[in-house]
């Protein structure tokens, strides 16, 4: 029953420094996977580049990263870029970004529901209808009682999932809320250790039904780190990133040995924030 499908928005958080064809592939793979389960309908993809306050080594200004992501998604009819996270002056936990987009989705959904409603007496155009015309009571798509709540799921690669195990990088309560209330779609290469990683964590195991593992059979290891390395060495990055992104990088001379040195020696924002917090002595495993 197509009306019973859960609507899903895929949210990808990350540096996107720069965005690559691999990042874009994650969305395609996740959408195909969720559609094939028959239970979900992916309605949107959101790329949310991290703010500069993340302080990762080599991270160039958010303005450029957002612009490149927008260039990359120009030809997509469902994936878009959201710069809310990147505009925040302080680093934001991923959970907060998820909550923000979830809230946005819910309020948008309520608005849509109101617009779709076709009550017996409707204001506006319908007033002009003949009095004895039969008006449908049920809304054209669905009724609010039956339709399930749309979800925002975190889209990531296995490296992000496995980073849950890095001490002080994530708060355990955040991880719990992410997998319990939202869900993960994790893309990994064939022959990975992700299932073992989930098995070894009680929290992840408990909510494993909300962690969707998608295998990427077509090996596609285009990491941003490698792209930046190639650029420093004057090597071509054509066909690894969208052409518009490549042209933008070239025009603005974005990546160099100097840019790679940015934030060298600086502690990553989440590590800084959680270092003193005693709660984080709880381990994932």
């Amino acid at each position: 029953d197509p009306e019973r499908k859960t609507e899903v928005v895929l949210l990808a958080c990350g540096s996107f420094n720069p965005i690559t064809n691999m990042h874009l592939r994650l969305f395609e793979l996740a959408k195909d996977y969720l559609h094939e389960t028959g239970k979900y309908k992916v309605i949107k993809g959101i790329i949310s580049p991290v703010g500069d306050a993340y302080k990762k080594k080599g991270l160039i200004s958010a303005n450029h990263r957002v612009t490149m992501a927008k260039l990359a998604t120009k030809n997509s009819d469902w994936v878009e870029v959201d710069d809310w996270e990147s505009c925040q002056s302080e680093w934001l936990e991923t959970l907060k970004v998820l909550r923000y987009h979830h809230q946005k989705l819910l309020s948008a959904d309520v608005t849509n529901s109101l617009e779709d409603a076709v009550p017996i007496t409707k204001l506006g155009r319908k007033r002009k209808q003949e009095p004895n015309r039969h008006e449908p009571i049920k809304k054209k798509n669905r009724s609010p009682v039956v339709k399930s709540v749309p979800q925002v799921k975190l889209l990531c690669g296995s490296d992000m999932l496995e980073s849950f195990g890095i001490p002080n990088l994530w708060k355990l309560e955040d991880i719990t809320e992410i997998v319990e209330k939202h869900g993960l779609v994790c893309i990994s290469r064939a022959g990975n250790n992700v299932q073992k990683f989930i098995y070894e964590s009680d929290i992840l195991w408990r909510y494993k039904n909300n962690i969707h593992l998608v295998e990427e059979w077509i090996t596609n290891d285009i990491s941003s780190t490698k792209i930046r390395r190639a650029l420093r060495r004057g090597q071509s990055i054509r066909y690894l990133v969208p052409d518009a992104v490549r042209a933008y990088i070239e025009k603005n001379k974005l990546y160099s040995p100097e840019s790679e040195d940015r934030n060298a020696g600086v502690v990553l924002a989440p590590l800084q924030k959680h270092a003193s917090d005693s709660k984080n002595s709880q381990a994932l495993h």
Partner: protein
């Protein structure tokens, strides 16, 4: 080494290109970077040469489509082009013959350039240009391939020994391999290949990007997305002409590849 004294090189890639993927085009970029970084070469052109329909490979769609898709894929490249000559031949053409054809073509271009230069009135040459700078240099033509292609030299009856010899001796190979695989050992194990190893350039692709056309076709048949693996224009073309289907995958099923049909009396050239 100044750019002017570098040896000009043309890269030729032969294959099914069924369809052309981002990985195919990456091979050219990698090869060019590698040759430039040796300081000895200047890559002036890349040629993609799709095989003709009578190669007889399973799932091979018509050359008309494969050439059209390659053209679309290469639209944004300013140095790589598609050449349909091989695909237009009535019979399947050995790779060495394709190399010879393109070499002769470049020779023709070279000779007409020389002619043009010789006939140029002395006053047309700008001051400071010496005669040596004016002489066009005959480019070298090299076969661009992946490491798996190199390994096919071992397949019984697929290649003639004298063809392999001519390819590595007269032309040269630029062979791209993925991180973790090392074809140099394979070259050492072959007397023929080790003799000409100076003419075999091994390039490591550290950014794994193994987009096989077979996987692309499989994904397409299943209605899965291949966006960002092959160019958007090629995706649109495939959809518009409904090129890859279960039926197209069955084409040539059970048939022998044409070179195997021709060479079935030959002994494996590279075994001892």
């Amino acid at each position: 080494v100044r750019m002017k004294s570098r040896i000009p090189v043309i890269l030729l890639a032969c294959g099914s290109f069924n369809p052309t993927t981002n990985m195919h085009m990456r091979l050219f970029e990698l090869a060019r970077d590698h040759l430039h970084q040796t300081g000895q070469y200047q890559v002036i052109e890349g040629i993609m040469s799709p095989v003709s329909d009578n190669y007889g490979k399973k799932g091979l769609v018509s050359a008309r489509h494969r050439v059209a898709m390659a053209k679309l894929a290469l639209e944004t490249s300013d140095w790589i082009r598609v050449d349909p000559w091989e695909s237009e031949q009535e019979t399947w053409t050995e790779t060495v013959k394709v190399l010879r054809h393109h070499y002769n073509e470049s020779l023709r271009v070279f000779q007409s350039k020389k002619e043009f230069m010789r006939n140029k009135h002395p006053t047309e040459r700008s001051t400071g240009e010496s005669l040596s700078c004016q002489q066009p240099v005959l480019p070298e033509l090299k076969l661009l391939c992946g490491a798996d292609f190199l390994q096919t030299f071992k397949t019984p009856n697929l290649w003639k020994e004298e063809d392999i010899k001519e390819i590595v001796e007269k032309f040269g190979l630029v062979c791209i391999s993925r991180a973790g695989s090392d074809p140099s050992q394979y070259i050492q194990e072959s007397d023929l290949l080790s003799k000409f190893q100076h003419n075999i350039f091994l390039v490591r692709e550290w950014i794994q990007n193994e987009i096989s056309a077979t996987q692309i076709r499989s994904a397409l048949c299943r209605g899965l997305s291949v966006k960002y693996l092959i160019p958007d224009s090629v995706i649109a073309y495939i959809a518009h002409h409904n090129i890859y289907t279960e039926e197209s995958e069955r084409k040539n099923e059970g048939d022998l590849l044409q070179p195997l049909k021709l060479h079935n009396t030959t002994i494996n050239p590279l075994s001892d």
